[in-house]
């Protein structure tokens, strides 16, 4: 794959902030490992309920000091806290809730995304293993009403992550609705990828230069507001 130019974009924390601002009040959301987990830092006090697939609804902020309880962790294995109205349930109930279409939005990390809304995230072939960590990712893709991807726009080595065709094993096909990166906000539509927002200081051409599929530039293209 050709090396492509890199741009200075948003930090991981600010990608998470942009995702958080897309979540409407009243949303039930599930956050995957990585940048998605950071979304929880930006929703305190808002009417957004986090589901952790380990078996918890209304997961609170990360626990510190004396609040740390080894029996109270989120799905990323971080000690968390309860909020008024938090509840617990077993794993079959948790995934019934997920597959059954009761979670509004899942936010996941990804290794590759294409313009049809396919994405790869569970296995990096460079590791040389046919097996990998699937976790709850495929269930969330199958059941969440909307799937958001939050990731860096390119690899550390400057290779495309927004690709024409996945070269890594797929997590799910045709499920991604929105893509949030350090450089852009892209909506995935039946016509292809629509560039809706660019990071401060960047142009649509800049984002296109690090994106393999052809982007449709929205008539309302704007700079991300954070």
């Amino acid at each position: 794959m050709p090396k492509i130019m890199k741009f200075r974009g948003l930090s991981r924390e600010l990608i998470a902030l942009r995702v958080a601002s897309e979540l409407e009040d009243g949303t039930y959301a599930n956050l995957g490992i990585g940048i998605p987990t950071l979304v929880s830092d930006w929703i305190e006090g808002r009417d957004i309920t986090l589901q952790s697939e380990i078996g918890m609804l209304k997961t609170g902020p990360l626990a510190t000091g004396d609040d740390i309880n080894q029996d109270l962790i989120n799905a990323s294995c971080q000690a968390v806290t309860e909020l008024p109205g938090s509840c617990y349930f077993d794993i079959a109930e948790s995934f019934g809730m997920i597959r059954g279409g009761h979670i509004d939005v899942a936010v996941m990390g990804a290794l590759q995304v294409n313009a049809r809304g396919d994405y790869a995230g569970w296995s990096n072939p460079a590791r040389g293993l046919f097996v990998g960590n699937i976790g709850g990712s495929m269930d969330l893709c199958a059941g969440a009403r909307k799937l958001f991807i939050a990731m860096e726009h390119t690899t550390r080595d400057g290779e495309y992550k927004v690709v024409k065709e996945l070269s890594y094993p797929a997590t799910a096909m045709g499920k991604v609705n929105m893509l949030f990166t350090d450089l852009a906000v892209i909506e995935i539509t039946p016509k292809g990828m629509v560039l809706k927002e660019v990071a401060p200081g960047l142009t649509a051409a800049d984002v296109q230069s690090v994106t393999e599929p052809k982007l449709i530039v929205s008539k309302d293209l704007k700079e991300m507001s954070l």
């Binding site: 380990i54 918890m56 029996d71 269930d139």
Partner: protein
Amino acid sequence: MDKVLPGIDEAVADIPDGAVIAVPGFFAAGVPRYLLRAIIKKGIRDLTLTCGCGPLLGAAEELKALVKNDQIKKVIDSYGLFRSATKGMQDPFEQAVRDGKIEFEVFPMGTMAERYRAGGAGIPAFFTPTGVGSVVEESIVTNIEANRVPKETRIIDGQKYVLEYALKPDYAFVHAIIGDREGNLRYAKTARNFNHVMATAARITIAEVENLVEPGQLDGDNIHTPGVYVRRMVKVPRPKFAITID
């Protein structure tokens, strides 16, 4: 019926080589650490450990011992490897998987949950949308190429589903914060995770409990696992876990 045994060694005394054992826990939370230590001590071999979400990453010391003693034949899980590829390369379990000495079979987590639920509820198999469009739809995902058995799919109301089978382990080890002598159990917060479904699925469920009470001392409206699913019980101290995965 009083199901409490005097010690943990008695609880695992009849487990033979080649047993299939369900191990609950979501990383560190809710792992039956004392029962794992008991089978390490007993030296049972050719074990198949059926998991749900990385309990052996949570109980890292126990996994290390099981691998070192060559006790594991196969692990089934949704998430069993280090996230970090660099750390994975130094991990004896991952090395044994790479060498084909241990078989590692992978399913989506919700499919694992439902396989136990079905196993405990008399349902032999089920169609699920999870995994459609990935290698999970095509065959069993395992490091042993010869065991990549193709899976059936079916279109129902225009949607594709994959057939997955119930899982009925020989034994389940569960960890509860409190239980009564007749096997009624309650779990703590997110340590519940796979404990209940595994207790229902196994032929013989052994519960380690941090607190043991008399029948009648638990509120009957708030039992997570009814005693009918539990065959043996042992009292254990509260385990200590590091809350971290790499």
